[in-house]
Symmetry: none
């Protein structure tokens, strides 16, 4: 039995409030042997104060050594085993641009490409065409009409855009048309399961019309299709945990991921301070608040240790605004590590803090990778964070008599 | 999804080098309350130095409380869930004497026994007949001929030897013929699955011929057959991890286990120093090196604490020879504990150390059971060691987007 099956049986309701603050890519590495991580280098008096009152541990995003993308990273924090609930690439890309998928949709990541006179791919990314040029082209493809199907086209960035087909009987089991090499023609879409035969027909028609519309373009005279995916079938927070949940996020990707698990998207905040205001404003409307802070990740991707330290401090400075709401359970965590040293996501455990009146405080004196090693939560897979949250909120009944 | 399924999808190639030093039975116990373990009593400046640079943790060989044999112990370190990949006794015994099994083989552990005049077993081990007497008898059984089958007989020790049948359609699902008691006749071999009917026929014929050949022996006038087993079907290191792997071991058992996962066996070293020379010599030929050191285990089995301490120190003295090769990832671990106090393998966690430039060093100042408890790897199942190794070597892509 999976933890979520258990929680579905055991959860109860009460008036408790849970706030989960997710500092994206929170965990880090020292830049030189013996040095501090970003979180350790940062001056974070408020988080350190919470660390003294709470219980700390190291969250393993997926399994030891496995580096997650944002999708699996957040699913884990939301309590969904990321290995059990893969999110198809197309679905994630659509989610990332704020597109709200329905059960009748199949989403596809598309790349503009350049075909030569013989119809072979000369450039798989259409010369990395700039967004100013590619976005209008993507939008022009909205004119494509296929009977019985609604079509959505959303520009992403440079050569990338998303296509969503909406209709009946559209499966996502279709192979990529990108041959992953140049000098050969694009592949035809091919179904790997009968449930996707109709998707293939529609994809072919879409490609045919797009080919005619783009034929005269100097760079982007065709496009490939990849990562065909339907909306992942995730139980909602209400079903899984009995929680009415709100997401307070700045970026579309995280709003989208929260929407996939049935959270309401609250407001259109631009800063963490506005996010805190929104939580306060809606505090009586929801049981659970997911608050996402992006910049601890993006500075890590940039390899900018000092900027990341500053973002940790900005994050810390706003924590009291959430703590002041006196939630029953306050969680501070991250979806993975993004050490500036690696300039990428990584597999390392993520410092994670739970503060409640019954959390069994440990001896940790600061919120940091090093202190985490003597934390009361030990090291645990991220998918168990929600059971700990519910338990600390008094929202779980006893298992067995 | 199991960790290995994930690694098969995520692994990538680069020029990194991984060295895994396995000190057999590394973990220990104090001889009296409050005393040091063998590793703690030993003067190990080189391992302690690595501990300061690396990250440490306690490897759980199988599951908490479970003591592994050499087979499951090593499979775990090699990243194969020992519960998912059982190695049949016969296959392990054949592997242990350096016999290279093929997919057409069934291997059987045999015991010489003594039958009385009525054909009942008088001694299940033929009076623990010494190897000098039993080995020639085992070799004489190589004269047994059965049409369509190749037969191999390898002496082991005292009353034990191995028989391998090679041919088509030979299953390993056959019950032991040893009745586990005296005063009764040996059992007939019986198939528990139709795939092994032919194995049973051949085993009966082998037993009949052996009975005639041994009839006049004073002690070993018959033998029993146990642990019928085919070669375990393990994905290779190349398939599972994309690693070209070499095993540098002294003893046949460990060469055999490494061969089962597709490692090349390099050289015929007699000492750890020669093993280091071989790793150096072949450093550009392989991505991964498994180096096995036996004596930390055998001294534990002997219950000789002081000798085991000395072997720990001998091991430590050679560690710099491996570290000097500057591998991307250096791992020091053991396949289980063999505390002199218990004179046997045990279930305790095994001190395990990973040194790389992105290992996230912890505060450990020495390599020891006690320091391990504040190590950054926490306690983890041995089967995750390879995912951590690959991650530290930069050989794993991201899971999901």
């Amino acid at each position: 039995m999976e933890i979520q099956d258990l929680l579905r049986d055991l959860h109860t309701k009460n008036n408790s409030k849970i706030i989960m603050l997710v500092a994206d890519g929170l965990g880090g590495l020292p830049m030189e042997p013996g040095g501090p991580t970003e979180l350790e280098a940062a001056d974070t008096p408020n988080l350190d104060d919470l660390a003294k009152r709470g219980v700390q541990g190291g969250s393993v995003p997926v399994l030891p050594g496995i580096t997650p993308g944002s999708g699996p990273g957040h699913l884990g924090l939301f309590g969904y085993d990321p290995l059990k609930y893969p999110i198809g690439r197309g679905a994630l890309e659509a989610t990332g641009v704020g597109f709200e998928l329905t059960d009748r949709d199949v989403a596809i990541r598309c790349n503009f490409c350049t075909l030569d006179a013989d119809g072979n791919i000369a450039d798989r990314r259409a010369g990395r065409i700039p967004t100013e040029e590619s976005a209008p082209l993507a939008i022009s493809l909205r004119d494509i009409k296929i009977p019985g199907i609604e079509i959505f086209v959303e520009p992403v960035k440079e050569h990338r855009f998303v296509v969503v087909f909406r209709g009946e009987g559209l499966g996502g089991n279709v192979l990529d048309t990108d041959p992953q090499q140049t000098g050969v023609p694009p592949l035809e879409p091919v179904a790997t399961h009968d449930d996707s035969n109709r998707t293939v027909e529609i994809a072919k028609e879409f490609l045919a019309q797009a080919g005619r519309m783009l034929a005269d373009q100097p760079k982007a005279n065709f496009h490939t299709m990849r990562g065909f995916a339907v909306k992942p079938d995730l139980p909602s927070y209400e079903e899984a945990y009995g929680l009415k949940a709100a997401a307070v996020a700045v970026y579309p990707m995280y709003k989208g991921l929260a929407r996939l698990v049935g959270m309401d998207i609250v407001g259109t905040p631009q800063t963490l301070s506005e996010q805190a205001d929104l939580v306060k404003e809606h505090f009586s409307d929801y049981d659970f608040f997911f608050v996402h802070f992006k910049y601890t990740d993006s500075t890590g991707e940039d390899g900018n240790f000092d900027a990341r330290v500053k973002k940790m401090e900005e994050f810390d400075a706003l924590v009291p605004k959430f703590a002041a709401l006196d939630p029953t359970v306050l969680i501070v965590t991250g979806d993975h590590s993004t050490p500036a040293y690696l300039k990428s996501h990584s597999w390392h455990t993520v410092p994670t803090l739970i503060v409640s009146d019954c959390c069994r405080t440990d001896a940790c004196q600061a919120f940091s990778e090093t202190e985490t090693l003597r934390g009361g939560l030990g090291q645990f897979e991220a998918k168990y964070l929600m059971s700990l949250a519910l338990a600390n909120a008094g929202r779980l009944g006893k298992f067995g008599a």
